[in-house]
Symmetry: C2
Subunit: 245 residues, 2 copies
């Protein structure tokens, strides 16, 4: 945990928060928090700052937070991901949040099995703690928005323009396509990146994406597993920002 994240409604008027449970245990057992010690704190979807431990008991800690004025910017990329099987989805939540995503859309596709949508890993009560774990790791406070799309076609045709009005729409697909770097190097806009299921998008789906303005990109000659591909794509988006600086 590189950033202790609290909810705005946990703070009292003096910016003091008393924690129990997982976060308190981490401060007490892992960070060996003592009165007077400081640590990095952030408010979920809010600013970051420094917390000073006012009291550290056996199961509870009280922390006084001094927060900055600015909330971290929303990460540049949104991800439109064909829902992977539950076991893979479970292990992707934290790394995706750590890489930084504005909005995660999890969609059905022809090669996505319907029963994948029954998993409890699509329940916010189960995935939000994993997203927060990723934010704590990365030191960010921006919780990605998450939308589950049961039918891809009406989403692309009727909802995408309001969900993602401005920016580049890109679709990752093995084979042809513009190499990544070149496309991104001239692009400071927001990005929506579509990543297919293990079996790939069908030709029908590829045409649908094309009609919706998605440009084909490829990530080198290597075919990657969904989870690896998503991290790789998000890493490149950020590295290119680094180049532009």
């Amino acid at each position: 945990m590189n950033l202790l994240i609290v909810n705005a409604d946990e703070l009292d008027d003096n910016g003091t928060v008393t924690l129990a449970g997982r976060r308190a245990r981490h401060v007490i057992d892992v960070l060996h928090g003592k009165r007077g010690q400081t640590l990095k704190v952030g408010v979920l979807n809010g600013p970051r700052g420094t917390g000073t431990i006012e009291e550290a008991g056996k199961t509870q800690v009280t922390i006084r937070c001094r927060l900055g004025a600015e909330t971290p910017v929303i990460p540049r990329a949104d991800l439109l991901l064909a829902l992977p099987r539950p076991k893979v989805m479970k292990r992707m939540w934290a790394p995706l949040a750590s890489m930084g995503i504005g909005h995660l859309y999890l969609t059905n596709a022809e090669k996505v099995e319907r029963n994948y949508f029954d998993t409890h890993w699509l329940d916010p009560a189960h995935y939000e703690p994993l997203l927060i774990e990723g934010l704590e790791q990365a030191g960010d406070t921006r919780l990605p928005d998450v939308t589950v799309i049961k039918r891809l076609k009406p989403f692309l045709e009727d909802e995408l323009d309001s969900a993602f009005p401005r920016g580049s729409r890109l679709i990752a697909h093995p084979g042809e396509g513009t190499p990544w770097g070149r496309l991104l190097a001239s692009d400071k806009e927001r990005l929506m990146i579509a990543v297919g299921p293990e079996g790939g998008w069908t030709d029908f789906e590829l045409r649908m994406f094309e009609r919706a303005g998605f440009k084909r990109i490829r990530l080198g000659t290597r075919t990657l597993r969904t989870d690896t591909a998503c991290i790789a794509l998000l890493a490149i988006v950020q590295a290119v920002k680094g180049v532009e600086k």
Copy 2:
């Protein structure tokens, strides 16, 4: 499995191979292989080509391989990684191979626990199948070399120059450092990238790396878990190659 990988000594003089076990089951059960059907094949550390199924039984398949002349180039990056804990190491083998690595050095460091080296996940009999799984996914045949380093200091001082004589030596560390992209954009050489343990390199280790010619780089402002960071770094290396084309 996007590429069926065989060992050179499994092929007879006509380039025919008879498989049983995991690979046969994959061809029979997943690819529904029938006589006459073709699939992509590769020889471990050798060329790739096309295989034609000559016989598909219940547990065995015989495949005639027509191989190209060229072996894929060795991936550009070597990775010098502080050994992560066994559970993490286990899940990293396949993704690392899928991203492409020339030589993987797994090293001790002050913040690496000694007992991590006792894991069977450092035994080639256990990790090679996972590396090959990564190659099958990515469509590559180059098995990464793997070296376990029990003492980092003598390795950096006495062995590194012969192990990695030419190319850029880079060390990933949060905080200061040149942003990635800029450093790589002008660099077509081989790269060795050092990635620290979860707790980071110590100042003593950082100075040791500096004396050995490693330049500090940083991967944006986000602190990533080891496995995520490695994939992100390797993705950027490849993307930058894409930009240069």
